[in-house]
Each structure stands twice: as C-alpha cells, then as structure tokens.
C-alpha cells in the first residue's frame, strides 16, 4: 500500500468527501429553497401576478395576492381562467391582444379598467399582459396593480393642482414660479401674455430665457432678480424701472418682485416672481413730469422774458427816437434800422419763449363768442363723423367776451372731439348760448367762485354714452380718461378747464348719463362795442403832436421810464414820471387836475400795478389808465379787471405802438382827434 497518497487512496476506495454518486440533493435543495424564496417574495407582493397558458388564458400559477384578488381559496392549475375572472368589458381587448401576441414584436397589453373583486369590491386596476417563452412554450404573464388608492391621491392632487392653477390664473399680476435652478415650473396667463410665449414654450425653460428685462435708465441687464451668487435671494423687489422685452419684441415697463419658495423645513426649493405692466402709469408719470417741467420752464422763461422785454422796450423806443430826433446821415440811419430790426426780432423771440411756456399766450381781446362757435363748428363738421348732427341755438344778445379766440376755439374743439368719441354710432351735438346774470346767491357764484355779474352761458351737449360715474368727479383732472388705452390722453377736458379758468370763467357738468352729457360754461361778458374796436395803423409821419396833455408814467425800470417820457415828450405831451406805485399815487394826487392819462406798469416793487390801479381808481374813478406789460402772471391777469383799463400797451413798444395806445385811450384820443379837426 502506498502511504504517501492516503487521500487519493481513500478517494479510490470511495471514501473521499466527494466520493458521491450522482447526487442532486444539494443543488436540488438549493434550487428548491430558491423557488420557495421566490414564491414568498411573490406572495408578499401586493401586485397580482399570474402565469397563464396561451391561448386559453388558464391560470398556470398565481401568487397569494392573485388568489385573494380573484377570490380563489384553493388554486388548482388549469382550473381557473382569466376571462371568467375579469369583467366582460375587457374580454374583447384581451382577446384582441392574444391574436397579435404571437407576432415578433410581442407588444405587451396595458389597460386601466374598473374591476369588481368579490373580496375587495370595486377597484381601479391596471392590467398588464405580456407573452413570455419558457422551455419553448409560450405563456402570458399577467400583472395587475390596484390603482384605487393611487387614483384617489391622483384625483386629490389634480384637484389641488386645478385650484392652484385657477388661483394663479385669476391673479391680475403676472406670476412665474421656478425650481431652485431657475427652471420655470409654472406661469400664469398674464405672464404668458406679457412675455409673449405659450405655456409649452415656457415650462422647463430657464427663467432668463423667457423673462428678459433691461433697466429703463441705461438698457443694461439688471442684476439677477432671483439669484445672487447662484443662491436664491431671500427677497428682492426691484424698482419700477425695468423694461420687459417680450418674445415679439414688445416692451413693457414693469414693477416686479420675487421671493423664495421654501419647503416645510425652510429649505429653498424655488422662487416665485410676480410683476405687472405699469407702462400706462409710467407714461402718465412721464406726462406729469413733463407738464411740471414745462411749468417750471414756463416760470423761468416768463421771468427772463419780463426783464428782456423791459430792456427791449428801452432799446426800441430809444432807437425810434434817435431816428426821429436827430438829423442823421445815411449810414447812421442804416445802423439805427439794424438796431430796431434786431430788437424787434429779439421781441419776437421772447414771444416764442412765452408761447413755449404756455404762459403769456393769453391775448385778452374782446371777442364775439358766436363767431368763435361758428368757426369751431365748421372745423368740427369737416372732421367728425357725418352721422353726428350739430345743432346750435345761439340766443345770447351780448356775445362779447374778453379773451383769446384761439384758445376758446380750441376749447370748443376739445369738447367736440370728446363728444364724437362718446358717439361712435353717431348722434347729436348741440350748442346754445344765452346771457345770464349771476347773483351772489346762485350756486355758480358759490362753490364755483365766480364773482356776481353778467355772464355768457355756453351750453355744450351731446347724446353720447356719458361719463362713467367713477371718474365724473375727476374728469377735469389731467390724464383722466374713459377711453381705451392709447386712444385718449386725458388732457382734453383738462385743457378745457384751463382755458375756462384762464378766461375767468367756470365750467360744470349739468348732466351726464347714458343718454348724453351737458357741459355749462360761464364766461364774463364785456361791453359789446369794445369788441368792435379794431386797431388802426398809424404812420409815424401822420402823427400829430397833441397839445397840453399831461401823462403820468409809473414805471420802475428807469430805461423804460425815461424812454417813454422822451417819446411822449416828442409827441407833444407833458410828462410826469414816478418810479413805483407809491410814488405814482403821490404824483397823481399832486397833479390830478393836470393829468389826463396814466401809463401803469404791472410789475413793480413796493406797490404793484394792480394795487396802484385800484388806488388810482379810488382817487378818481374816471382816470384813464393804460396798462403796460410784457408779461403778467396768469394770477395777476385774472384778478385784474382789465376791462376798466383804458388800454393795453405791450412792452417792448415802438413809438408808433405807444402813440396808438395813447390814441386808443378814448379820452386822450378824442381830444387828440378833435384837436386834429
């Protein structure tokens, strides 16, 4: 015996550890245990899992859940059939699937149906069928998920989602929500409209691809509203100076703010951005700003123009006198002409400056309101809808008002345009006038602040849609309009109001309903004949020197005072001068008998022209006062009853202008005319 190989010998004797005949015990046990494990696994699964014979659909195998689901107490292979255990409504689909289950594509079947389980009641199920091959035999694997609870959760979720959606859609502001990476997860219709994209275009996109803004100040990209160093900001509100650029390149001024979305643990999971279109407000703000700016410029320009005018008066008048007084040679004559032309151009420039400021534009001349109305309606008639009929009842006897015919025409045109817009289908405009006397007790004199007296009442009505009640109180405020955005400035009635006020009048809405609107305008009347007075041109060669007349000049500007005195002296008047209102009063008292007329400057220190005017009238109600002014503030003009003045001398003035002004002062002129006769 070979003892060197004891192990090998044992093996040959059949006594080795592995000296077994074929034994399947171990592998069999392992595979059996494996199968039991799988069965336990399958039985513990909530899903219904079955193996079915094809094409009969008899159950070959099923897990415990399937037995419960199909209410099978004891499973016997081949005894039960799927088609007998499932609702009749899906039998057809399953049969159709079997017909095509054997083709190469082997498309699985998935269907969602209602199922009535004897044990579990009505259930929503998802039934899956697929063909499998095992040992060259075809079977179907049937897996059924019970979706009932899942469906409930889904329904609740979708309800909640729907509520959220409706809420978001109902918000008047634009809302965009993003995840923590700035990817858009929600967007409401207002936001879609402003950004110009559709819902599918927006969802899933980075916010900065959809919400594109620039700063309105420099059109640079603004700092990121949502992210700060890649972290979501805790809160951010930007000023209202962003411009949103929509997909179709439209631009909107917006006001925007963002805030983080936090989960229950306070962790930031996204952000929500809200913004609104403030383009209109922005425009109004701009207009208001512009208007205030213009007002300031107007004040400034008015102030400069005043001083300018005074100086130009001196230059012009002096040049005039120079031309007359001395016997100058030809070349000197040409130089004087240059001075006069330049000064005249400068005076025109000053007038333009005042016009730009919309101040001092008021020409206050006696005007016939009926002529103005006729003029305006003929303009209106050619520009408005032919279906709008304009009726007039011009019954006033006295039609003379003091003011600027251009502004009054514009006022009527503004009212007409307003009426036209209120009557898109056509209608009627009616304009009537009559004379009224307002007493102290009437409402117009009360809250409208009109002094009692004779007025022209202009009634302007239409048969339009009326002014909405919510803006009726503010209808004369600037920028208030009932018209659609873009079609009205809201300045029409404000301008009307301004014009009426400029003319010391008042305006009221008598009535406004869906049947129409009626405005009443009151303008103070002046004497009829003053309106007929037209200016005459006088050649300086025709000027005849008056005799023994004495004129008091009250003027603070020495240049003008001396110039005017020199001119009047040249014209043959005696002249007394005063350097301000108080000095003027004293001088008038001292020489009242002598003085036949007063030239009164309006803007002076110590005592201004208006007070001085009243004091002079107190001393002698009959005194003839010629008002001299290059510019008077609106306020001053309104409070001055200029109709009591004998005339108006616009500074700067030439000799001719001064002479004509003196002639227009009736007393003087008549005496002068007489003296000529």
């Amino acid at each position: 015996m070979d003892n060197s190989k004891p192990n090998l010998r044992d093996k040959i004797l059949g006594l080795g550890k592995n000296s077994l005949r074929k034994s399947y015990y171990l592998p069999l046990r392992e595979s059996t245990e494996g199968l039991q494990r799988y069965k336990a696994l399958l039985d513990q699964t909530c899903d219904v899992i079955c193996l079915l014979e094809l094409p009969s659909l008899n159950f070959i195998d099923m897990n415990q859940s399937a037995q419960n689901f199909f209410d099978i107490d004891e499973f016997i292979q081949g005894k039960f059939n799927l088609l007998n255990k499932i609702g009749s409504d899906c039998k057809k689909t399953i049969s159709a699937w079997i017909d095509c289950a054997f083709d190469e594509r082997n498309i699985p079947l998935r269907m969602n149906v209602k199922h009535h389980s004897p044990a579990l009641g009505s259930r929503d199920i998802e039934l899956n069928l697929s063909r499998v091959e095992f040992s060259k035999v075809d079977y179907a694997v049937c897996v059924i998920h019970d979706m009932t609870d899942y469906r409930k959760v889904l329904d609740a979720l979708s309800q909640s989602e729907e509520n959220l959606r409706i809420t978001l859609n109902s918000i008047g502001d634009a809302v965009i929500a993003t995840d923590r990476n700035g990817i858009i997860t929600r967007i409401n219709p207002v936001a879609l409209e402003l950004t110009g994209v559709t819902l599918p275009e927006a969802i899933g996109q980075p916010l900065n691809k959809i919400f594109i803004t620039v700063k309105s100040s420099d059109r640079r990209n603004p700092e990121d509203l949502i992210f700060s160093n890649t972290n979501i900001r805790h809160f951010a509100t930007l000023d209202n100076h962003s411009i949103l650029i929509s997909k179709d390149r439209k631009e909107y001024h917006i006001a925007e703010s963002s805030s983080p979305i936090k989960d229950d643990n306070g962790k930031i999971v996204g952000s929500v951005l809200t913004f609104r279109d403030i383009t209109l407000e922005h425009e109004l703000e701009n207009k208001l700003f512009q208007s205030r700016k213009m007002e300031s410029i107007g004040q400034l320009a008015g102030g400069i123009a005043h001083d300018f005018n005074n100086m130009l008066t001196g230059i012009l008048a002096s040049a005039d006198l120079l031309q007359k007084k001395i016997d100058i040679n030809e070349s000197a004559e040409r130089l004087v002409t240059i001075i006069i032309d330049s000064a005249t151009r400068a005076a025109n420039l000053t007038q333009k400056l005042l016009a730009f400021a919309q101040k001092g534009k008021l020409i206050s001349q006696p005007s016939c309101i009926h002529e103005i109305i006729k003029n305006a309606t003929s303009m209106l008639g050619s520009s408005i809808d032919k279906r709008i009929d304009i009726k007039m009842a011009l019954d006033a006897d006295n039609t003379c008002v003091s003011g600027d015919p251009g502004q009054l025409t514009n006022m009527l045109l503004n009212l007409g345009v307003n009426s036209r817009d209120a009557m898109p289908e056509g209608g009627r405009i009616f304009i009537s006038t009559r004379n009224v006397n307002l007493s102290e007790s009437c409402p117009q004199c009360g809250f409208m602040g009109l002094p009692p007296g004779d007025y022209l009442k202009l009634q302007f009505g239409d048969t339009g849609c009326g002014i909405p009640s919510e803006i009726r109180d503010r209808v004369f405020d600037p920028f208030v309009t009932s018209k659609p955005i873009g079609s009205g400035t809201g300045m029409g009635l404000a301008a009307v109001y301004g014009t009426v006020k400029d003319h010391s009048g008042a305006i009221e809405i008598e009535n406004s309903s869906d049947k129409g609107t009626i405005f009443n305008i009151y303008l103070p009347l002046v004497e009829q004949n003053s309106a007929a007075n037209s200016s005459k041109t006088h050649n300086k060669s025709e000027c005849t020197l008056p005799q023994h007349e004495c004129v008091l000049i009250i003027e603070d500007e020495e240049v003008i005072r001396l110039t005017a005195a020199e001119i009047l002296h040249e014209l043959g008047y005696k002249v007394i001068t005063a350097c301000d209102g108080i000095d003027g009063i004293e001088k008038y008292r001292d020489h009242q008998e002598q003085i036949s007329a007063v030239i009164l400057d309006m803007v002076m220190p110590r005592m201004n022209g208006r007070e001085c005017f009243q004091r002079l009238k107190e001393i002698n109600p009959e005194v003839k006062i010629l008002i001299s002014s290059g510019f008077t503030s609106e306020e001053a003009m309104r409070n001055l009853n200029i109709d009591n003045a004998a005339g108006f001398l616009k500074k700067p003035f030439t000799i001719t202008e001064l002479y004509e002004a003196m002639l227009s002062t009736s007393g003087i002129s008549s005496e002068k005319e007489n003296s000529h006769k």
Binding site: K11, G14, S19, K22
Partner: protein
C-alpha cells in the same frame, strides 16, 4: 481460502442496470423515467451500420422522446470529440444522454455529461473525484462485453496534444441506468470478441488482486474470471452462440462491478500509457501485458492467485512456484488460442519508447492499487518482457 480478509472500510457502488436479452428495448421507458425529452445519442459509425441505433430510436420514439445523434467518436475517444458533443447537446437543448456502443462512445458520453454541467475543458477533470456538479441523466447500452464502462466510474479520454490517455475517476460518472443486452454483442467480430473478452479477464484479475479489494468485489471478480475462462473460446468461435454471449456479457458486467469498486492495477496503468502513445486497442494491450504483470505481482498476492488458479481449473496440488508458471502459461494460452499473438514489439513499440511509457504509467492512478508497489524500473522491465 485465504484467511487475511480485509476489515477496512469498503464501499460498493453500482448503477441500476437491466441485464438480459432485449434489454435495449427498455431504452424509451428508462429515458422517460429519467425525465428525458430530448436526448443526445452518442454512438459510433459501426453501431449505426449494425442497425442497433434504430432499435433504440424506435424505443425512444414510442415514448415521445426526440433524439439527436452524435456519432463522431473514434476508438479511444478524444478530448475534442467530447467538447463538440457537449456543443451539440447544448445546441439541441437536450436534457439527457444515451450512450450506445463500446467503451469509446460510453467514455465520450461520460465526458460530455461532465462538460454539460461543469465549466472549463474536459482535461481539467483528470484524476479522482474532480467533478463537483453531476451531469445530466446518463443511460448506457453497451455493445461489447469487456469494457464495462456501463457500470464503472471510469472514463478514459485521449489528450490529443499530449498523446496521452487521461483517467477521470468519479462516482459522479457512474451511469444512472445501464441496459446490458447480450444480443447486441453478436455483431462483434471474433477478434473484437477476443480483445474485449481478455479486457474483461484483465478487469477481473486486477480487481481480485487489488489491494483495495473487498469481499463483495471478490464475489464478482472471481466469478467473472471463471465465466471468461469457460466461455471466451466459444464466443469467439461461434459468434451467434447466445449462451456464450450471455455469459461473456455477464462476465464483463461482474468484472466491471468488481474493478469499479476495487480499482485496477499495473496492467491498466501500463495499457493506458501504451494506448495513448500508439493509439492501440485497449483490450489487446491488456491481453499482452496481463501475464507479465501477474508474474510480477505473484509474490505479493499469492492467496489471490491461488483462488484465480482454482477458477482457471488449475490443479489445486500445484506448489507456489508451479502455480506461478501455470498461471502465465494459461493466460498466454488463451491469447494464443484467441489469435492474440503479437508482442509489443510487433505492435510497433521500440525499446527506446519504453522509458517514456514507464514514466507515464507510473503516474496512472490505477497503479496505486496494484498489489506490488512498482517503480519506473519495474514497469520498464515488464514492458521489455512483453516486447
């Protein structure tokens, strides 16, 4: 009777087998019992020509069992044949193997079974108890009487790169069922009958003399010696003598049961080396080497050889020396009468080949149970004596 009965632990393993005329017709039933539905039928072209395959296929068909035939098997089956058989098994999705033939198809079938269940190459499983996973069901129908592969745990495969026969010895390759049908053996020619018969004799003698023999193996070993001695001449001379064929089949079976459990000795160790080296018929090699090995072993197993003398009908009165001479002459006599007269030299073995043959033989596991320990020099001198 010898008195030195071994009391060591012994195991006896035998497959389930059906023995008798017409046993082959049970192929279908047993294949079905073993759960086969698609069968790899391993055989060789000679068997196909003899018509035995049809009988088996008909039997399988009756049971609804499909079969695919693998018949590319050489005498001394090759490693590559095992591998291609395994591929055919897999490609045909078989679930069982039936071997129909002599030692070569049966050993090849065993190799295929190993490779179906285990990874790697068939040569990886050389040695004892190297197989961890049993193969699929294996049913053997022997067509010769001698090889006994139908009951043994042996499979001998030719390593074609080394020209060496390797022995795979494992209980796992004992067939599940053997159908031993003496009727099939009538188709063997006289020379094949002689060689396989002397193979059976060698199995029986070596099992009897093996130092791993046991009382149970002895029962089969000595009875097999007696059956071969009494019937081999008749079987060779009268191929259709069913009685002789029956007894030779029984002898082969019994010798197989004996050596499968008691193992073999130097004859097989040397014959494996020889067969691998020159691709010589296994039975013939055994027959030539047997008398020389018996002479070499005699002194180490005198009691065994006394019993063998009894079975060979030698006089019980012979002394040891006479017995030794008589045994040599008797075995040589068988060979001569059966026409096995070549020496190893006649078969092409040169004296220069002997050291290499001995070197390979000394490593053969069969040498382990030889009653007398044999070194390389011992084996070389035995090869020389047989040349």
């Amino acid at each position: 009777m010898h008195t030195t009965v071994s009391r060591e632990l012994r195991k006896f393993l035998a497959p389930e087998f059906i023995f008798g005329i017409g046993a082959r017709m049970k192929a279908g039933v047993y294949a079905s019992n073993l759960g086969m539905s698609r069968v790899l039928l391993v055989t060789d072209p000679g068997i196909v020509a003899a018509g035995w395959l049809k009988d088996v296929q008909n039997s399988l068909r009756e049971e609804g069992i499909k079969s695919t035939v693998f018949s590319k098997v050489s005498p001394n089956p090759r490693d590559c044949e095992v591998m291609s058989g395994m591929e055919q098994y897999r490609a045909s999705d078989c679930n069982g193997i039936i071997a129909l033939g002599g030692g070569s198809p049966m050993d090849c079938a065993k190799g295929i079974a190993i490779m179906v269940s285990n990874p790697g190459h068939i040569l990886d499983y050389e040695g004892v108890d190297m197989i961890s996973m049993p193969g699929p069901p294996l049913l053997c129908i022997p067509t010769t009487s001698g090889t006994a592969a139908d009951v043994s745990q042996f499979a001998i495969i030719l390593d074609t790169s080394e020209h060496n026969k390797i022995a795979i010895i494992s209980k796992a390759i004992v067939p599940d069922v053997s159908l031993v049908d003496p009727e099939i053996t009538v188709s063997m020619n006289p020379f094949l009958t002689a060689c396989t018969g002397m193979d059976a004799m060698t199995h029986a003698v070596e099992a009897a003399c093996s130092n791993a023999s046991s009382p149970v193996t002895d029962l089969y070993a000595y009875h097999a010696i007696e059956l071969v001695a009494d019937n081999i001449k008749n079987a060779v001379e009268n191929p259709n003598d069913l009685n002789a064929r029956y007894n030779m089949s029984l002898a082969s079976l019994e010798a197989g049961l004996a050596f499968s459990n008691a193992s073999l000795g130097a004859v097989h160790a040397m014959a494996h080396s020889l067969g691998g080296f020159l691709d010589l018929p296994h039975g013939k090699c055994n027959a030539i080497l047997l008398p020389h090995v018996m002479d070499f072993n005699f002194q180490s197993a005198v009691e065994c050889f006394k019993k063998i003398g009894e079975k060979l009908k030698l006089s019980p009165k012979l002394n040891t020396k006479e017995l030794r001479r008589e045994l040599m002459q008797t075995v040589n006599g068988f060979n001569r009468k059966l026409g096995i007269t070549d020496t190893l030299g006649d078969m092409g073995v040169k004296s220069s080949d002997i050291p290499e043959l001995a070197e390979k033989a000394v490593d053969d596991p069969c040498l382990l149970t030889n009653p007398r320990q044999a070194g390389i020099r011992d084996l070389e001198s035995i090869y020389e004596e047989a040349s």
